[in-house]
Every structure is written in structure tokens, then in C-alpha cells.
């Protein structure tokens, strides 16, 4: 290399530049053509520059927009939001709510830099951001601490229901998977990688088939109800009928589907931590609990956040599970999009919902890319 003359080096660089472009073109071009351009068409539909009807007149008769307009976006984002927190209720415009959420997200991410009290800001912001959506699965439904609804706007209510569902599933999955990851990382010898594969393997098998298995388990005469009959907790004529086709079912099936996968990022975070830190802590007289709280947990935090996001992001647009086991009350935001393009045949409204969903997901991914990158490369 050192002997090459400037001109030949220049020639090589030019050639290598062209080569790089040639290597990136097929993959990049494919994504451009089948990912970005389609999204552009979704935008055109959402603003009424394209319509579903055969002719402009037919589209007009169907009630579709036939020229540029933000009407559909206005219908989605315009109506006020109704808040019910512990009996108290109030309404506010959606944009105010959006600003509050964005502000809390910014505080959660940047709070640590605010100086003296900074380390309290992030956790408080996270709690304020997350708490209202957390739902407690009890009986057939999910019971939220705060109710967000939009009486004039069913899709927005569905969105909040979807967020609740994804959030509750993510938190439950992280809680259930953490001990597993901890056990793999700290209690098993070299066999741990083999056991890790055994834990994750169900995640990589067909999703539909696992849903099918749950249909068998949760029907009126399925495994759970039969067990209840046999133990005598339920009469054979009176099975627990909300096990299938309810929000509870969607919750259980999603949780079951994603739990194996979240063990992975948590395991990676635990596995990469320097074991000498724990030994040093114990040598200095720290109890196991203290060492766990002050060393293991903070070092595992990025993996935990990544695990949380790895479930939250893919489940927020979920529509297959609700269709198969959700019944009417399990209906989610993703189901609304699927139905707009399916039986409702209302592509323009569907386009607005799809873009809104993608905007939320991308904003969340961008804001948390730090955590995703920390463990994403290992997956």
C-alpha cells in the first residue's frame, strides 16, 4: 500500500466507491422500492390524493376523499381525550396530551444530565409515563389504573388499549424471564448456552401453531377447565368461559409467545458483567441483596430495557392474536388497520392509522436506540 502512487490510490478509492455503491444498491434499492415507496403511497392515500374507488365519481359516492386534504388526520387527532383516573375524570385536547407524553419521554431519557436532582428526574418521568397504561389482568379483562378513552374516536381508544396490552405484556414478560436469565448466567456452568437455546427455541417455532395449542388448552372443555372440574372448583356445566375469546386470552398468548425471547437480552447483559465486581462487593462486606441491588441490577438495566422494548415494539401492531383468540373485546389497534383494508374496505382511514402507528414505533425506537443497540448486535 505504501508504495502505491497517489494517482493509483485515487483510482482505487474511486473504484471502491463505485463498488460500495454497487454492493449497497441491490439491498438498498429493494428496501426503497418495496418499503419506502409503498409508505409514500400510504401517505398519499391518507391525504386523499389516491382513492380506492374505480373512478373519482365512484370514490366520491363511497365517501372517500378525492383531493388533497388533512381531513382524515383531523378526524384521528382532532377529538378530545377523556381521562379517568381513580374516579376523577377530565377531558383535554389530544395535542396537549401528546406534548405531555413527549415531554415525559424527553425527561426520562435526558433527566440524568440535569445536575443535582437529575437522578431522580428520569425514574419519576418513567413512572409517570408508564403507570397510567399499566393494566392488571384480572378475570377476563385488563384493568387499567387510568382510563384513556376518546368517545368520538374509537381508533384512538383502541390505540390506548393496544399500548396497555403491549406494556402489560412486556412488563410481565420481563418479570417472568429475569429469574430465568439470572439462573442461566449465574447458576449454570458451560452448559448454560445449551439451556439458553432450549429456553429460546419455542420462540423460533411457528407462532400460529402455538396459538392453536392455546385454543386447545383454554376452551370450555380444555386443559384448564378440565383440571378445574377434576379438582371440584367448577361444575362441568359451568366452565370458566372467558378463558378463550377475551382480553385475558390475548394477554396470556402474547406473554407466552414473547417470554422466551426476552430471556436473551437480559442474559447477555448479566453474562457480560464483570464477575470480580460481585466478589469485591462481598469481600467488602456487602450482603447478597445489597450486591444485587447496587451492582447486578444497575449493570443489567440496559438489557432489561432492551428486553422490554423488544416485546413492546413488535406487539403494539399485533392483529393476528386478537383475531384468533381475542373475540370482540380483544380487538386492538392492529385489528382496526387490518379490518380497514379487509372487510371495511376503507383504505384511506386505514392508511392514517398505519402511518400513525409507524410514527409511534419509530419515535420510540429512535428515542431508545441506545438501549436497543446495546444488546441488539448479539441477537
Amino acid at each position: 500500500m505504501a508504495s502505491s502512487t497517489p494517482s493509483s490510490r485515487l483510482g482505487r478509492r474511486v473504484r471502491s466507491g463505485a463498488g460500495t455503491a454497487a454492493m449497497l444498491l441491490p439491498g438498498g434499492g429493494w428496501l426503497l422500492l418495496f418499503f419506502l415507496v409503498p409508505l409514500y403511497y400510504v401517505f398519499l392515500f391518507s391525504t386523499g390524493q389516491r382513492w380506492q374507488g374505480v373512478t373519482k365519481a365512484a370514490a366520491f359516492v363511497n365517501g372517500e376523499l378525492t383531493s388533497f386534504s388533512w381531513d382524515l388526520w383531523g378526524q384521528l387527532l382532532g377529538p378530545d381525550l377523556k381521562l379517568d383516573v381513580l374516579g376523577a375524570s377530565g377531558t383535554m385536547p389530544l395535542w396537549v396530551f401528546g406534548f405531555v407524553e413527549a415531554g415525559l419521554l424527553a425527561l426520562a431519557l435526558l433527566g440524568g444530565r440535569l445536575g443535582r436532582y437529575g437522578r431522580f428526574v428520569s425514574p419519576i418521568a418513567v413512572v409517570l409515563l408508564v403507570l397510567p397504561y399499566i393494566a392488571i389482568p384480572w378475570g377476563h379483562g385488563l384493568h387499567r389504573i387510568a382510563g384513556f378513552t376518546s368517545p368520538d374516536n374509537p381508533s384512538m381508544s383502541l390505540l390506548f388499549r393496544s399500548i396497555s396490552m403491549s406494556l402489560t405484556v412486556s412488563i410481565a414478560a420481563v418479570l417472568l424471564a429475569f429469574p430465568v436469565a439470572y439462573y442461566l448466567a449465574f447458576c449454570l456452568g458451560p452448559a448454560k448456552y445449551r439451556w439458553l437455546v432450549i429456553v429460546i427455541a419455542p420462540f423460533l417455532t411457528s407462532y400460529l401453531l402455538r396459538v392453536l395449542a392455546f385454543k386447545v388448552i383454554l376452551t370450555d372443555q380444555g386443559l384448564v377447565n378440565t383440571l378445574l372440574f377434576d379438582v371440584g372448583l367448577r361444575n362441568r356445566d359451568n366452565p370458566v368461559d372467558w378463558l378463550l375469546y377475551s382480553q385475558f386470552t390475548v394477554f396470556v398468548v402474547l406473554l407466552y409467545a414473547w417470554v422466551p425471547f426476552v430471556a436473551l437480552p437480559i442474559f447477555v447483559a448479566l453474562e457480560n458483567q464483570d464477575r470480580r465486581l460481585l466478589e469485591a462487593a462481598t469481600d467488602l462486606g456487602a450482603s447478597r441483596l445489597l450486591a444485587f441491588r447496587r451492582i447486578t441490577l444497575p449493570l443489567a438495566a440496559p438489557g432489561i430495557v432492551a428486553a422490554f422494548l423488544f416485546i413492546f415494539i413488535p406487539t403494539i401492531g399485533e392483529f393476528v392474536t386478537p383475531q384468533l383468540v381475542g373475540g370482540t373485546e380483544g380487538y386492538l389497534f392492529g385489528s382496526a388497520i387490518a379490518d380497514d383494508f379487509g372487510q371495511n374496505n376503507d383504505w384511506q382511514s386505514g392508511a392514517v392509522l398505519a402511518l400513525f402507528l409507524i410514527a409511534i414505533v419509530l419515535a420510540l425506537t429512535g428515542a431508545t436506540s441506545k438501549f436497543l443497540r446495546a444488546t441488539g448486535g448479539e441477537v
Binding site: 466507491g17 463498488g19 454492493m23 400510504v42 429469574p179 439470572y182 447458576c187 427455541a201 417455532t205 380444555g222
Partner: protein, 275 residues
């Protein structure tokens, strides 16, 4: 890991509790698959307890189900083509992104990984619009499904390939170039043999993603429904369930096999790179 660290991290009692939890976790995790396997031999037209007796008729029913066979054949075709296309595009892009430093390479990497976080339903409806209402009318077919499946599996191929290529000692390539090898020869003789295991895992991952993909296939396959779309239609109705259960059991066992195979190959690849 030393014995000492283990006792520092977990007490004896904690260890016992964790072991019990782990065993319970695996039991619950694998229970549904086991139940499917049991019901695949159950002699009853609806899959409910109590079990009725042993039969293999669901297996023979499934074997002779023509529409299932056709759907499965289509899925195999789509998955094979998807994995080949996605992996080829992935190898080229991964090589360019790891070996050539240029302005905006991070942005391009991010762009190529974005489809991973976009809900499949959005990709499905966007492609539906492009093909049905775009500038060029394209009839929906297996090809349109493949177009979508490549979009969602390309990021996974990249994630598998980039670390492998980055892990190759750069001096190997420099030595080859100094000895007069063209860049194509260098790739063929140096890079390719070293990343073969990663390429095989990328092929497998893309194949597995495609063969199980429902959202895109359901919107873009029109009348030529793929296996997941067919399966979805069947499992919505209780009376169609039993013949699907043996299919499910076989597929689950097969995919466990594939997972184990992929893991073995990945390990071998690590060893080859001396990781």
C-alpha cells in the same frame, strides 16, 4: 466461572428456588407443544378433554389434504426464494457496510434495519397499496409475497452477517490484495469460506421467517394462499381443528430441529473465526 462467584451471586437456598422456578418455567413453556402432540393422536372430532383413544387418522387426513399440500408447496417456494434473495442482498450490503467506511454508512445501516421494528401489518398494507394503486398495476401473486418477505428478513440477515464479516482479520484481505488478487477473488477465496456458516444461518433465519409469516402473506397472496394463511383459515373454525393438529406437531418438531441445527452451525462458525 469460578465456584466463588456462583455462591456470591446466589445463596444455596436461592439456588434451589431458582432451579425449581427454571424447571417450572420450561415445563409451562413446553406444555402446549406436548398437548398438541398428544391431541394429534386423539380419536375425537373436536379437540377437548377427556382423551378418547388412539388414532392416526388425523395424520392420514392431513397427508391427503390437497389444499394443505398445495399451500405448503407454495410456502416452500416463497420461503426458498426469499431466503436466497434476502441472503444475497444481505451479504453484499453487509460487506459494503463493514469493510468500506464512508459518510452516511451509519444512516444506511439504520435504514436497512428499520423494517425490523415496523409492524408487519403496516408493511403489508403499504405493499398492497403500491401493487394495487401504485403507478404500475401488479397482480397479487406469490411474487408480491416474496417482495414483502425479503423486506422483513433482510435486516435479520444483516444482523447475522455484519458481525461475522467484521470479525475477519483485515490482514487476510490485505495479504490477498498484495499478492495480486482482485477484489472478487479475495471475496470468493477469503471472505466467503470464512462466513459460510453465517450465510447458512442467514438463509435459515430468512426461510423460517418467511414460512411462518402471516400478515404480509394474507394481504398479498390473493388466491394462492400460503401455508400460514391456510392454517389461519382452518384454525378459526373448531371443526377444522383436528386435521391441523398433526400438521402442527410435525412442524413444531421440525422447527425445533432447525433451531438446533442453526445453533450448531453458528457455534462452528465462531470456532472457525477463533471467537
Amino acid at each position: 466461572m469460578s465456584r466463588a462467584t456462583a455462591t456470591v451471586a446466589v445463596s444455596k437456598r436461592g439456588r434451589r428456588t431458582l432451579t425449581a422456578y427454571f424447571v417450572f418455567f420450561l415445563f409451562v413453556l413446553y406444555l402446549p407443544s406436548v398437548i398438541l402432540l398428544i391431541f394429534s393422536f386423539n380419536d375425537n372430532t373436536i379437540p377437548v378433554f377427556p382423551l378418547q383413544g388412539f388414532t392416526t387418522r388425523w395424520y392420514s387426513d392431513a397427508w391427503h389434504d390437497e389444499s394443505l399440500r398445495a399451500a405448503f408447496g407454495r410456502s416452500l417456494k416463497v420461503a426458498t426464494l426469499t431466503s436466497i434473495v434476502a441472503t444475497s442482498l444481505g451479504v453484499l450490503a453487509a460487506y459494503a457496510l463493514t469493510r468500506r467506511r464512508f459518510r452516511g454508512s451509519n444512516a444506511i445501516t439504520a435504514f436497512m434495519l428499520v423494517p425490523m421494528v415496523v409492524p408487519p401489518i403496516v408493511i403489508a398494507v403499504a405493499l398492497l397499496m403500491l401493487f394495487r394503486k401504485g403507478p404500475v398495476q401488479v397482480d397479487l401473486s406469490l411474487w408480491t409475497v416474496i417482495a414483502g418477505h425479503v423486506v422483513i428478513s433482510l435486516p435479520y440477515a444483516l444482523l447475522l452477517l455484519v458481525p461475522r464479516i467484521a470479525g475477519i482479520d483485515r490482514r487476510l484481505e490485505e495479504a490477498a490484495v498484495d499478492l495480486g488478487a482482485s477484489s472478487l477473488t479475495t471475496f470468493r477465496r477469503i471472505i466467503f469460506p470464512l462466513i459460510t456458516p453465517a450465510i447458512l444461518s442467514a438463509l435459515l433465519i430468512a426461510f423460517v421467517i418467511s414460512i411462518d409469516e402471516y400478515a404480509i402473506a394474507s394481504f398479498l397472496s390473493a388466491n394462492s394462499e400460503t401455508y400460514p394463511v391456510y392454517l389461519f383459515g382452518q384454525i378459526r373454525q373448531a371443526e377444522h381443528l383436528p386435521p391441523m393438529i398433526p400438521v402442527a406437531s410435525v412442524m413444531l418438531l421440525l422447527s425445533f430441529g432447525v433451531v438446533v441445527l442453526a445453533e450448531v452451525m453458528r457455534r462452528r462458525g465462531d470456532r472457525r473465526l477463533g471467537l
